[in-house]
Subunit: 198 residues, 2 copies
C-alpha cells in the first residue's frame, strides 16, 4: 500500500508548484488533510475566485482586478515616468517602498535565449507603443542584475533611446545593512562602478 | 496599491501551510494565477475530493479511503506484529521499503509536555486495547530519536511489557552512504551503542 489515489493526486498537484519537491508536497498535502472540511472547501473557493477575479491590465500588464488597473487609471500618478519590471511581484516590491509615484510596465519575463524566450515573447512591443502614444519623459529599467536582466536592459535601452526619452536603470550595490566582507565580487564591482561623489 | 483583495487572501491561505513563509506563499500564489482557469478549477476539485475521500482507519488510525484500512483488512499481513509510528507519513516511509509485512498503529503524535501533548492526546489507549484483544507477539516502536520520540518510546515500553509482549525499537546509527566524519555526535553515540558482533 502506498497512497490512496485521491491523496496521491493531491501530492502530485502540489509538486507542480515551483520549489516544492516531493517531501514538501507531501507535507502540504498532509497539512491540508488535517484541516477541517469547511476550511478545505473555503481554500478551494479562494483559489478559484482569485483566478477568476484576476485580470491582466491591458496597458501595463500588471495583474489586477480591473483593466486598466488601479495604477494606470489613477489620477495622482505621474504619467511621464514608466518603471519597467519583469514580473508583477517586482512591481509590488517597488510599491511597498512608497517612494515611486509613476506608472509601470510589466514585461512578463526577460529575454533569455537559453530558455527560448526572445524579445517578441515579452511585452516589449506594447511598451514601445506606449512610448509612441503617451507623453513619457523617462523610462526606469528596474530589472534584476542577472544575465537575462542585463540583456533585456541593453536591448530596451537601444530601442528606447531613439524616442529621445531618458532611460535610467536602478542602482546596484551593497544592500543596506550588508557587510562589505560578505558581499560577492560582482556586487562589490557594481558598487564601485556606481560610486558617486559626496 | 498593494495586492487586490482576492490575491491577498490567496497568499494568506498559502501562508498557513507549514514551512511556507510570506515569500514562498507569494510565489505559490503567482504560479497559481498563471495557470489556466481549467487547471485551477481542477486543482480546487482535487483538494476537496482528497479531503472528502480521506477517512481515518478505526483500527490503526492510518489515513485511508476505507475503514478498516487496506493494511488492517489484508489477509496476507502478519497480524502478530504491530509497528507503532507517529504519523501516516512514517507508515508510508516504511511501506516503501517493502520489507515489513506486519500491521501498524499510528499514534497521531508524540508525547510532548512542552506542547501540552500528553499520553491521553495520542492513540495510546487504542493501542493497548488492540494488544488486549488481538493476538500480538511483538510491538516495534518506529519513533524518531527526538526527545518526544524517546519519551513516547519509554512510556510505551513500560505500558506494553506487562502484557508479556516483545517490544523492540528500530535501530539508530549511521545512515547508509553516510560518512562517519560528517555524522553528529549523537548519531555516532547511537551507532556505537547499537553495535553488534559480526
Amino acid at each position: 500500500m502506498i497512497y490512496p489515489k485521491s491523496i496521491a493526486s493531491l501530492i502530485e498537484q502540489f509538486q507542480k508548484f515551483p520549489s516544492i519537491g516531493p517531501k514538501s508536497a507531501q507535507r502540504l498535502a498532509f497539512y491540508l488533510l488535517r484541516m477541517p472540511l469547511a476550511e478545505v472547501q473555503n481554500f478551494a473557493k479562494i483559489i478559484v475566485e482569485a483566478k477568476e477575479n484576476t485580470k491582466t491590465c491591458d496597458v501595463c500588464f500588471n495583474i489586477s482586478t480591473s483593466s486598466p488597473c488601479e495604477i494606470c487609471s489613477s489620477s495622482t500618478r505621474d504619467k511621464s515616468i514608466i518603471c519597467v519590471v519583469s514580473e508583477s511581484k517586482d512591481l509590488i516590491a517597488i510599491e511597498k517602498t512608497n517612494e515611486y509615484k509613476g506608472l509601470y510596465h510589466v514585461l512578463q519575463g526577460l529575454i533569455s535565449p537559453m530558455d527560448g524566450i526572445g524579445a517578441d515573447d515579452i511585452r516589449i512591443k506594447e511598451l514601445l507603443s506606449r512610448l509612441t502614444n503617451e507623453d513619457v519623459k523617462e523610462v526606469i529599467l528596474a530589472l534584476s542584475p542577472s544575465v537575462e536582466g542585463e540583456a533585456t536592459s541593453l536591448y530596451l535601452t537601444k530601442l528606447i533611446k531613439p524616442f529621445g526619452i531618458k532611460v535610467s536603470r536602478i542602482a546596484f550595490g551593497l544592500p543596506v545593512g550588508g557587510d562589505l566582507e560578505y558581499a560577492d565580487e560582482i556586487t562589490i564591482a557594481k558598487a564601485l562602478e556606481g560610486r558617486h561623489e559626496i
